[in-house]
Symmetry: D3
Subunit: 135 residues, 6 copies
């Protein structure tokens, strides 16, 4: 039987939603206050779900301390207290919506974790707006 384990982490960052291919007017129409050229920011809560078999010797799917360290080194150190648009290479040409941030995190973690494990990422931009990758 496969079971899932979850680890919750968080980071704070500034961002701006903007499509450079559009006029300023269209950016304002679509992204509203989120298009502020001086940026705004969020406390992002991140839940990483890892699905696999329970290892009979440890009783673990994987060690949550190891999972937490992998998230810290590969995601938090890269995103925490950063300006996503200016400081994080992943968003040089990708709009940092919650959807795209979660996809980037999922791609990063997929490479770092055992290929036998399935991964799902839930990212809370606020308590009322959040995303899950993949669906």
């Amino acid at each position: 039987m496969k079971i899932s384990v979850f680890r919750k982490e968080h980071f704070n960052a500034a961002h701006r939603l903007h499509n450079p291919a559009w006029s300023d007017e269209m950016n304002t129409n679509v992204f509203g206050k989120c298009n502020n050229p001086n940026f705004h920011g969020h406390n992002y809560n991140l839940i990483v779900k890892v699905t696999g078999e329970v290892h009979p010797e440890t009783g673990y799917v994987m060690d949550m301390k190891v999972l937490s360290d992998i998230i810290k080194e590969n995601v938090l150190d890269r995103f925490d207290h950063k300006n996503l648009n200016l400081d994080v290479p992943d968003f040089q040409s990708l709009n940092p919506t919650a959807e795209n941030i979660a996809i980037v995190i999922w791609q990063i973690l997929k490479e770092k974790l055992d290929k036998n494990l399935e991964i799902k990422v839930t990212l809370y931009e606020t308590e009322r707006n959040f995303v899950e990758v993949p669906a």
Copy 2:
């Protein structure tokens, strides 16, 4: 890759659980305190999950502001600060259990959202009792 976005909203309402085809005694036996003829009430927390592709130009599955407005106009304006049994036509002959309220909300939203999007509704009647439609 399909991903999901979630919007959390809330409303307050009074209700009474009752099956008019049953005797008063049976209603009391089955529904207990929830059968109080003078009604009781809840703060309902509602999470709407929408699953689809990320639009490459916006980085959105759908605009959360638009989703929030659709929920407000079609669900909150209809249910908030209402007596579900007396004020809301959907429950004239349908028992307003959390299950049935969530099914009604899911049916309402399904009609209002793009047919390519899958919808799931989670409704919290209390912090400890909640339902998900569909499973």
Copy 3:
């Protein structure tokens, strides 16, 4: 040194805000949606704070099980799954605002607890609206 202990409980109830000395129009103007004649409802979260000395033999200010039982017998059994306006004598001629409900609960508990203990009541009508008695 005096210290405080807190116990959190909850109840669900229907209510209507209404001043019978006013016209319907004035009631609607002042109380808005909360004046719905068919009632609406809430999940009320209640925190009771009790302040006193720590008893050296138990290490307790008071037994939380005893405090919980006193709240259940005197507050929850009276308010839970009730219509505050119709079912609860305290609100026959008192408007069941969060302020007044908290004052009633504070008066009830003050009589039931040791006179050497100070009591404060916090009542959450929603996650975003709450009151504290006394200030």
Copy 4:
């Protein structure tokens, strides 16, 4: 259409992570602070998800009061305020990781609930570490 209902409960317990087939050194390396021979403890939050059809006469998948009672009698009475390693037979030879505790709870509840209902168990060891059985 199948829908799911959820009931949240909680219990407090002491435990120690330990594999008796390993040396003390290896136990410390793998389980770290969780291997403390004098035990440590947690407030476990438990969410039980039950999936089935809505019964047309009640509007319930199942009565949450009944589900709560089944969880209390079969899980909480067995685990609450206990030392999982010393007091609970299920963990005499099974390491009480969150994964294994959740599997045991799932097996217990599966036997007690109607065979037509699917069950999923989510167990929070802390706010940041939790598991889901089955995946």
Copy 5:
């Protein structure tokens, strides 16, 4: 008897902690990651506490809808989705620490509310760091 009522609101903003009278090295030493010249951001949760007498005709200390509107017009419209350092005049020469943001909010609200009411502001920068003004 005086009692208190509370209203919870929230806003999102970018900011940078920086003292222009100091060297870059000292700014980094004191403010660490919060000194990032490209800014970072937070979801700020704000609780406004208002203390006064209950008005006998309404049962209110003050109408929470009115309080919410005053907060929206005077605080949220000024701070939400803004860069506190660049967009908000109050922080042109004042470091936007949680302490200073809360003091500014308290000063704004004090002017807008009835002089007979006492005001306290609690501001959550994260779930784990928050401030209260005045103490």
Copy 6:
């Protein structure tokens, strides 16, 4: 004007409530399930409130990173993943009730922080039982 800053931390521990001067029967009568000789445990949430003046050069009452480090070194390293009765000298002859744990933490932190700062400690034993020292 004095203002307060708060830092939230947490630790997990096992404990047993017991008064060695009493008979087993009296211990069971008073402490109930909390008297289990094999211990039980909790996730303790700890909020430390520090009150003082805002320093004009930093905009801080005190650096939250420094406060967090002081709590970690003096409280969490001593209590986390421990058996309070067996592993922590403070409770060799003091009953580890929430009240007494909070008093010990308050005494520890008072010695480590600047004498001009007032300190208050809130300790959550569960979400529903918590204490504040001093009152």
